[in-house]
């Protein structure tokens, strides 16, 4: 038998694999069932993304096909004490917790000011915003994983900020995966709608319990839609600190109105294999985006980040800085596309990909892509991959710091530029410590 036949057979198996992850339940809500059914049809029709697909060249998710993930049925009984390591003092009363994709009412607390709604879909199945916006932005026609997520629509997080409402407390969306007897798949879903003139800070946090001595295998397939109306602001911090044996696919679609602002800090520490797609559309004039990303990985981890920044209207701004730190045999991928459409005159867009490669067994693939169709724009992009500099190391050594401490300090410094931008003090401190401990002790 020829190799080609073997290969095509295994791809067919991969496609069937995706269909095998479809739900065999329905929800009590007809309109959600309709969406689910549409999405399920796409799951059956779309191929499993393989490394032959240009967009998935470097992240080989066929690895997950060896595992039969089951839908999570009953979440384990966790207490607030169990999840204490993840709680943010800034968000004690503005937290929605999902365990293996299921809403955990007893772990959540949403005591919010007037004009701020933070709940889960099933508590507001007739909500007008939910019905009109859900699945509008993260379209599933061509994205197999988005389709799979949509086919599982059930208890997602719904956040709505009414017109001109500024929510002072950060909104914490905590997605916990637990070690289970059989590997489970969960499909977290968020819809965030910031009506005109409103503002909020959002923390989307993917974690694993227990945190020590175990790395369970599971699959998280998350989709987030963020709609930012005219003059509204959303500050979005996304943390991926899954188990080191987990598979994680995340997709965020962000839609920006006139003079609106979107700040993104996406931080990737976890998962065996992860992929984050951030798709941003500036659909009206004068929108502003700041995108910061950090992937800090080691061992055999693969972290793939794809971003698309689409400037469609004039006077938009975007500034992006993505950093990867890769140790031992890990592999980081960054692909950042910036589109400046014909009508997007006076766009000001920068993108910088800076990478630190700590081991000669590690690998970094970075591809900034600029596609400009307007003629009066300011755009700049660049990418660097560097190693720890001998001169920097020597400088620190000559001040009495040993090689290990000097190395950790330089790595920490490299990461800190992104971590420093996280707008929540306790989280910032936690992340700094996480970097220090991942890299060994600094002080």
């Amino acid at each position: 038998m020829s190799a080609a036949i073997v290969a095509s057979k295994s791809i067919a198996n991969h496609d069937a694999y995706l269909a095998g992850l479809l739900p065999n339940t329905t929800t009590p809500h007809e309109w959600i069932n309709t969406l689910r059914a549409d999405a399920a049809r796409r799951v059956r029709a779309l191929p499993f993304p393989t490394t032959r697909d240009e967009e998935w060249r470097f992240s080989d998710f066929s690895l997950m096909c060896k595992t039969a993930f089951a839908p999570a049925v009953a979440a384990p009984a966790l207490t607030l004490t169990d999840i204490a390591p993840f709680l943010l003092p800034e968000a004690v009363n503005s937290r929605l917790v999902f365990v293996n994709g299921m809403y955990a009412a007893h772990l959540s607390s949403a005591v919010l000011p007037a004009g701020v709604l933070a709940t889960h879909f099933t508590s507001k199945p007739t909500n007008e915003t939910l019905r009109t916006q859900l699945a509008r932005h993260a379209t599933f026609q061509h994205e197999a994983f988005v389709a799979l997520n949509t086919s599982h629509l059930h208890e997602g997080a719904l956040i709505v900020l009414s017109k001109n409402t500024a929510c002072a407390t950060p909104l914490h969306l905590l997605f916990i995966s637990t070690a289970n007897t059989i590997p489970v798949a969960s499909h977290p879903r968020c819809l965030v709608v910031a009506e005109s003139g409103s503002a909020c800070t959002l923390i989307e946090d993917y974690v694993c319990l227990p945190t020590v001595n175990t790395s369970p295998t599971y699959f998280t397939n998350a989709v987030t839609e963020i709609v930012i109306a005219d003059d509204a602001t959303v500050r979005h911090t996304r943390l991926q600190r899954e188990s080191l044996a987990a598979f994680h696919v995340g997709y965020a679609a962000v839609h920006l109105g006139r003079n609106s602002c979107y700040d993104s800090n996406s931080i990737t520490f976890g998962a065996r294999l992860s992929r984050y797609n951030l798709y941003i559309t500036q659909s009206a004039e004068g929108a502003n985006c700041t995108l910061n990303g950090l992937a800090l990985i080691s061992g055999r981890q693969v972290a793939d980040t794809h971003t698309v920044m689409d400037h469609t209207r004039p006077n938009g701004n975007s500034a992006q800085l993505h950093k990867c730190i890769v140790d031992s045999g890990a592999h980081a991928i960054f692909n950042g596309k910036i589109f400046v459409r014909k009508d997007a005159q006076h766009t000001n867009s920068t993108q910088s990909s800076r990478n630190l490669l700590l081991s000669n067994k590690g690998r970094i693939d970075t591809k900034p892509q600029l596609e400009i169709f307007a003629d009066d724009v300011k755009c700049a992009h660049g990418a660097t991959v560097s190693q720890l500099e001998t001169e920097e190391m020597f400088y620190l050594n000559s001040r009495g710091l040993n090689a290990n401490t000097a190395r950790n300090l330089l790595i920490y410094a490299f990461a800190e530029e992104i971590i420093d931008k996280v707008p929540i003090a306790s989280l910032k401190q936690h992340l700094s410590q996480a970097v220090s401990s991942q890299m060994g002790e600094i002080v």
Partner: protein, 254 residues
């Protein structure tokens, strides 16, 4: 005048070193006693920085011959951090910028690391804050520089001042100042030089690499050495620097 019976701090004997396979230092001899100030002058490329970096343990340089005894220890077998712990300090000709690390955090880390090695007390951030503010007065450095990242965006002169602040914090037995005066304006030169003078005790010593006699008006050297082609070809007193200033290096021969 220093008595020749002062304790010897550094003894360099016939030191040779190469970088990237090219011999740069070709048999350097130098004895430094406690309380002494040595100036090293010499044309560009003569090996002054190389000598400084070899003493501090830069990994790119290979010692190909000779020995260096520092306070009775074979300096050359120690990694750079242990040379620092033992009391060797190099003020860099081109200090390195470390974005992402605040100057005060870096200084505290260096200080506490050294304290641990010397069996002294750790300072917590608050205590260190007091300590470092006191030390910054020695070089009249504005405390706002402590909150900035190490050397990042510092002007040439500010970097040099920061080097001497580090020296003040680490309190070395032997400080090697590689062109600390270059890049300093007239006032800054006076301030930094007086800082170095304040840090001098009968128990420590300074090696200053400089191109200009100017610095030596402020910090009086006990010896002036001329380096050329990787060797010290002439040694004199402070008047040698004056002579070099007027006559250049061409007349000096081994």
């Amino acid at each position: 005048m220093i008595s020749s019976s002062s304790k010897i701090i550094l003894e360099v004997r016939n030191l040779s070193a190469s970088v990237a396979g090219v011999g740069i230092l070709k048999g350097i001899n130098l004895t430094v006693r406690a309380g002494e100030v040595h100036a090293i002058m010499g044309p560009n490329g003569s090996g002054k920085s190389t000598f400084s970096k070899v003493l501090a343990g830069h990994p790119s340089y290979t010692v190909t011959g000779g020995e260096v005894i520092f306070q009775g220890k074979n300096l050359l077998e120690l990694p750079p951090e242990e040379r620092a712990h033992a009391g060797v300090f190099l003020a860099f000709q081109y200090p390195i910028e470390i974005p992402g690390v605040s100057n005060s955090a870096f200084l505290r880390l260096a200080y506490n690391t050294l304290q641990a090695r010397r069996g002294g007390e750790d300072l917590d951030p608050l205590e260190f804050n007091d300590y470092i503010r006191e030390k910054s007065r020695i070089v009249e450095m504005d405390p706002s520089f402590l909150d900035r990242n190490v050397n990042e965006g510092f002007s040439g002169g500010e970097k040099k001042r920061n080097e001497i602040l580090q020296m003040a914090v680490l309190d070395p037995t032997l400080a090697i100042l590689d062109e600390t005066d270059s890049g300093l304006d007239i006032d800054a030169l006076r301030i930094v030089a007086s800082g170095v003078n304040k840090l001098m005790t009968p128990n420590n010593a300074v090696i200053m690499v400089t191109h200009y006699q100017r610095l030596l008006n402020y910090i009086t050297p006990d010896f002036v050495h001329v380096m050329r082609g990787g060797q010290i070809i002439k040694t004199g007193g402070k008047e040698l620097a004056l002579e070099l200033e007027t006559r250049g290096y061409d007349w000096v021969h081994a």
